[in-house]
Structures are given as C-alpha cells and as structure tokens.
Amino acid sequence: MKQSVYVDNNATTAVAPEVTEAMLPFFYEQWGNPSSMHTFGGGVKKHIDEAREKVAALIGAEHPNEIIFTSCGSESDNMAVRGAVDAMGGHPHLITTRVEHAAVLGPCHYLEDKGFRLSTLEVDDAGNLDMEQVREKSMSGKATVASIMWANNETGVIFPVPEIGNLIKEGGGIFHTDGVQIVGKLPISVKDIPVDLLSISGHKLHAPKGIGVLYAQRGTKITPHIMGGHQERGRRAGTENVPYIVGLGKACELALQRMEHDAEHERKLRDRLEAGILASCKGARVNGGGSERLPNTTNISFEYVEGEAILLMLDDVGICASTGSACASGSLEPSHVLRAMDVPRSMLHGSIRFSLSNYNTGEDIDYVLEQIPRIIARLRELSPFAND
C-alpha cells in the first residue's frame, strides 16, 4: 500500500506501535470477559480500570469513574446530546453551532424534528463564535442542553470552551463539548472548567478506530444510549472491548508524556507548510488562519481549482490529505464548515486540509512544498477561469 507522506491526521492517525503491543495480550491470552466470576475473566477488569485512570489523567478528570468507554466519538456525541436531553426531561432548548461534526448535528436535527427547539449558532468568516449570542441563547429562560465543540476538525479553530461553559452553566444548562480533535493535541483539564460532558475518539490520538470515551462529570444525569448489562456502571451496556480500552489507555499515557513536545513540533512544521504554500501559490488563503487554532491543522483554499482533483494528484505522488470540496464528498455538498464561514465560492471548491501528527518530519513538509505548486499550476492550466 502506497503511503509516503501522511498529512491527514484529523481524519485518522496511525495506531502507535506501543498501543498495538499493549493490546496484543488481550487477543492472544487475556480474552476473558471482565464480568465473569472466574479469575480468568474477572482478572481482566483491573486492566480496564488502569486504562480509565490513564484517560482521566490526560484530560484532568478528578474521578476515573467519570470516564465512560464507548465505541467511537460518534457514539459519545450521540449519547451526550440525546442522553442529556432525555435525562433532563421535558423539552429542553438545544444549542449548537453550524460547524459541529455530523455526529452532533445528526442527533440535534433528529430532536428538532421531534419538536425540540434548536438554536444553531453562526460563526464569522474567521470561524469564531459570537459570545454575545452564546450568552443570549443560554439565558433564554428554558432549561438548555448545549453541544459546542472544542476544536474544529476541518479548520482547527478552537472555541473558548471555558468561557462558553461559564455562560451555559450561568444559564443553568448542561454543557457538552466535542473534544475529539483537541484531546491528545493540547493540554486540557476538565477539572478546572465547567464542562459536564466531553467526547473523545481513540483513533485521533494513535489508538484504533472503534473506541471512544464520554467524560461525564460526577453528578451529571445522562440516560444510557446503549441499555442492557451493567457495564460501565450501568451507563453503557455491551461486553467491554478490552483490547481497545487498554490500547486507548496506552495512547493517553503516551499523549500525556509527549504532548508538549509534539504540539511544538507540529506547530513549527505546520507554520512552515502554510507559509511555504502561501508564498509559492497565488490565490491561496488559509481558512480560519487568523483564529486560535490547533497546532497541527491548516485548511488552505486554492482559487479556481477543485479539491478532489488536487487530492488525487497528491495521492498520485504519495501525499495523503483531505478536502472539503463538494465533488469529493459522497453527498456532493461542499463542507458545511467552510460554508458557515462564508468562504467565497471560487475558494470553496479548492480547499485542502493538511493535518499533522508527531510522526511527521521536516522532510514530509519539504516534499509537500515541492509538489503542491506544481500540482496547482497544472490544474490551473486546465481551468477556464484561471487564465487572467
């Protein structure tokens, strides 16, 4: 399988070899059911608890029991939104934003269809929320459940979650934040800020695809999304995915050790990539560039070329990235995030997201910087619009 430069880490990351190593014994030997009474199965439970502690440590959760293992970030988001609304009872007012991940927007729109009031906050052209609007909506007088992401997957733009949390809590609401893109990339501490619920996805921080976490602060009422057995203290049924739980624990442990160093490393590479592209390609702009952003992400639009075409030409030279272009998505809709930011149409089609990880090197960046101008020039030659 061809892969030389992987700069699509917001889509998924490599499973760290340490993580795979940590998981293997739980396939080969310790495959017992942690709910079993016998030593062989029951003995596995302590490894789950250890993993729980490692996840708690990474996000600064006070109590390991606040960590609920789920099957993915999407499950965590669904559970947060629907579980909080259900546990609150009545018809709480839902608050979200136009730039959330589909796993938040999906359940929000579902509930709206069922008759719940939903307020979807706008962002400006830099991708930022209007905090006055947050305040206003959260004080609407009705009980609220707010789901507002921490860092955006497409642009890397970071919302001021501590401030948002304060506003929501002042209004008496429940506050969920989708932390899938920030956890493991930047230090956070849920202990110090008013977050009731936080979603995590393993495969964004070098654990495998198919494991997630919902952090639920002690005392937060939430209806389980998967009901049945008593696993996860009755909050999430289903026999535990022991290998992945252990793997996620390992990934969180590694992230905690490396985060500071890695963030700096990624920021340097990202900044060089960004500056290099802007210098070598006319008609390029960074979406959300002026805002506070994740250190690993840049979203660049190239005027008059189409993202899918860019991606495929990048793929041809072994560079893996992604696009918000309509033509690339199954639905033929351009990115809802870039649309919410009012990215001009001539730019909307040619957006490419580069997202780095600790595994990227200076040579990776050199290579991308060598290829991009050639590809953009080539595609502009083909374009009827670019010949002026």
Partner: protein, 159 residues
Amino acid sequence: MWEYTDKVTDHFKNPRNVGAVENPDGDGLAGSLACGDALRLTFKLGEEKKIAEAKFQTFGCASAIASSSALTVMLIGKTVDEADQITNADIIDYLGDLPKQKVHCSVMGREALEAAIYNYRTGKTFDKKLDGEVICHCFGATDKEIEKVARGQKLTSAE
C-alpha cells in the same frame, strides 16, 4: 473514495487536448455555474469538414477533467453531425464507467459540446440557462468571479 476506472484515472492524470483552439469554428461553455464546475470546449474543422482539433478547459473534479478529455478524443475525426450524436452516456461508456454521483460531470461535457456546435452552426453564443440540466447539489447564489468569467464568454449565468 470514488472508484474510478483505469481509463478515468488515465484521462485525469494525462488529459489529452488541454487548452483552447486558436480561431475555433465552435466554442462553447457549459457547467453548473451556480456551483462552479465549468467546461469550455473549442474545435476546429479540417479536411472533409471533419473535426481536426478539439481542446478543453475544465474547472471540476477528476471525473469532469476525464470526461472532457475523453470527449475531445471522441470528437476528433468526426463530422459535426456525427459529433452531435455523442451523448453523455457515450462518454461514460468510453471511460468504462463513472460513479453514479459523478454522472453530471459527463453531462457537462455533452452540454459544452451542444454549446460549441450551436456556436458553429449559428455563429451565436448558446444562450440556454446553463444550469438547467445540471443537477447541482450545492446551494445558493453565484460567485462573482465565476459570473465575471461567464460574462466574458458572453454566456448567461445562473441567477
């Protein structure tokens, strides 16, 4: 990930007949202007009134580029009447196949061809609402830059 046939990939990576023919006999622009995909097709006749030269410029995805490239190859050597028989289904056949969601990219080829033939036959610019037959899955208004180009081509832009 779209599943493209080898032929689509080949025509995308090595597009044939890129550019604009000088002093064309037929010149047509088509596309879903509302969403920004566009294709300009020009051709010139040679001996026995057969198309000797055909070139394209495309702003669009890999399927759009491959469809345009394929179309130019299919045109060369045909009379205008023969060329007029080429449908988007023929373009898809020529390419092996296109993903269902990408069929409109080949429709764009057929439309540009129609526009270019109309231009050849009447000397006028094809002034049919260009977005009429292209299913644009996007929303909303036109982009000023694209509108400007469209006007430069003396074509009607979408509202």
